[in-house]
C-alpha cells in the first residue's frame, strides 16, 4: 500500500497533480451547487 502511495519516488508529483485536480473539481461542483440552491432552480 505504501508502495502505491510512494509511486516509485514520484509520489509528490503524481499526488500533487491528482490532489489539486480533484480538489479544484470538487470546489467547482460545490460552488455550482451552492449557486443552484440560491437561485432555487
Amino acid at each position: 500500500m505504501s508502495e502505491f502511495f510512494n509511486m516509485g519516488g514520484y509520489g509528490l508529483y503524481v499526488w500533487g497533480s491528482y490532489g489539486v485536480t480533484f480538489a479544484l473539481l470538487a470546489l467547482e461542483v460545490f460552488m455550482v451547487m451552492k449557486r443552484k440552491r440560491e437561485t432555487k432552480t
Binding site: 502505491f4 509511486m7 516509485g8 519516488g9 514520484y10 508529483y13 503524481v14 500533487g16 497533480s17 491528482y18 489539486v20 485536480t21 479544484l24 473539481l25 467547482e28 461542483v29 455550482v32 451547487m33 449557486r35 443552484k36 437561485t39 432555487k40 432552480t41
Partner: protein, 235 residues
C-alpha cells in the same frame, strides 16, 4: 419558414431548454463518476509502469484530457458566442458564459499538472516553451472573457463584447495544438494522432480515453447546471 426550422429553434428558447438541460446534466454527472472510476482504476492500477519515466508518467491520465478539454471548451464557447452574435439568441450567450469558468479550470489543471510532470522529467517547473506559453495565453483569454463580462453592467453589451473577444481568441487554439510541430519545444509531440498507430500501450491509451470521457461528461454536467442558474437569474 419551414417546419424543420421551427423545430430547430424550439430549444433555442431558454424556457424550453431549461428542463432538458437539467435532465442532460443529471445523466452526465452519473456518467462522469462512472468514467472517472473506470479511468482511475485503469490508469493507476492496470496500466504498466513507463519504461523511461517510471511512475511519474501517470500524471498523463489527467494532464492530457485536461489539456484537450481546455482547448475544446474554448472552441465550443467561441462557437456559441459566434451564434449569439449572428442570430442574437440569448441562450447562446448564456451557454458561452456558462462554459468559461470550466474551461479556465481545465486550462489551469493542464498547466498545474504539466508543471508537476515537468519537474521530475525535465528538471524544471516551467519553461517559456511555445506549448506552455500558448496554453498560458489561453488561461488569460478565459480570464479576459470573464473579466469583461463582469466589468460591463449592461448584459447585452457584456455578451457582445465578450463574444468578440472569444472569437478573436480562437486563433490561439490551433497555435497551441500545432506549437509542438511548428517550433522546437521541450514539450513532446502529440500523444494520440488520428494518422498513425498509437505509440503507447493499449491499457495506457484506454485509461487516458476513459479520463477524457470523464472530463467531457463532467464539463457537460457543470456547464448545463450553470446555464440553468444563468437562465433562472436572467428571468
Amino acid at each position: 419558414m419551414t417546419t424543420d426550422s421551427i423545430k430547430w429553434f424550439w430549444y433555442s428558447s431558454p424556457q424550453t431548454f431549461f428542463p432538458l438541460a437539467g435532465r442532460i446534466a443529471r445523466v452526465s454527472a452519473v456518467l462522469a463518476i462512472l468514467f472517472g472510476i473506470a479511468g482511475l482504476y485503469t490508469g493507476l492500477f492496470v496500466a504498466p509502469t513507463d519504461a523511461t519515466q517510471g511512475e511519474a508518467y501517470r500524471i498523463i491520465y489527467i494532464h492530457v484530457p485536461a489539456a484537450w478539454m481546455s482547448m475544446f471548451l474554448y472552441v465550443v464557447m467561441a462557437f456559441w458566442a459566434a451564434i449569439g452574435l449572428a442570430f442574437n439568441t440569448r441562450l447562446s450567450f448564456l451557454m458561452a458564459r456558462a462554459l468559461a469558468p470550466t474551461g479556465a479550470l481545465f486550462t489551469f489543471i493542464a498547466l498545474w499538472t504539466g508543471s508537476f510532470w515537468g519537474k521530475p522529467t525535465w528538471g524544471t517547473w516551467w519553461v517559456w516553451d511555445a506549448r506552455l506559453t500558448s496554453e498560458l495565453i489561453l488561461l488569460f483569454l478565459y480570464f479576459g472573457y470573464m473579466a469583461l463580462q463582469a466589468a460591463i453592467d449592461d448584459r447585452r453589451r457584456a455578451d457582445r463584447a465578450g463574444a468578440v473577444l472569444a472569437i478573436v481568441g480562437v486563433v490561439n487554439v490551433p497555435i497551441i495544438y500545432y506549437s509542438v510541430k511548428w517550433w522546437n519545444t521541450l514539450h513532446q509531440g502529440a500523444s494520440v494522432s488520428f494518422s498513425k498507430a498509437p505509440s503507447m500501450a493499449a491499457t495506457m491509451l484506454t485509461g487516458m480515453l476513459l479520463m477524457a470521457l470523464c472530463f467531457w461528461a463532467y464539463s457537460i454536467a457543470v456547464a448545463l447546471t450553470r446555464v440553468r442558474c444563468e437562465i433562472a437569474e436572467a428571468g
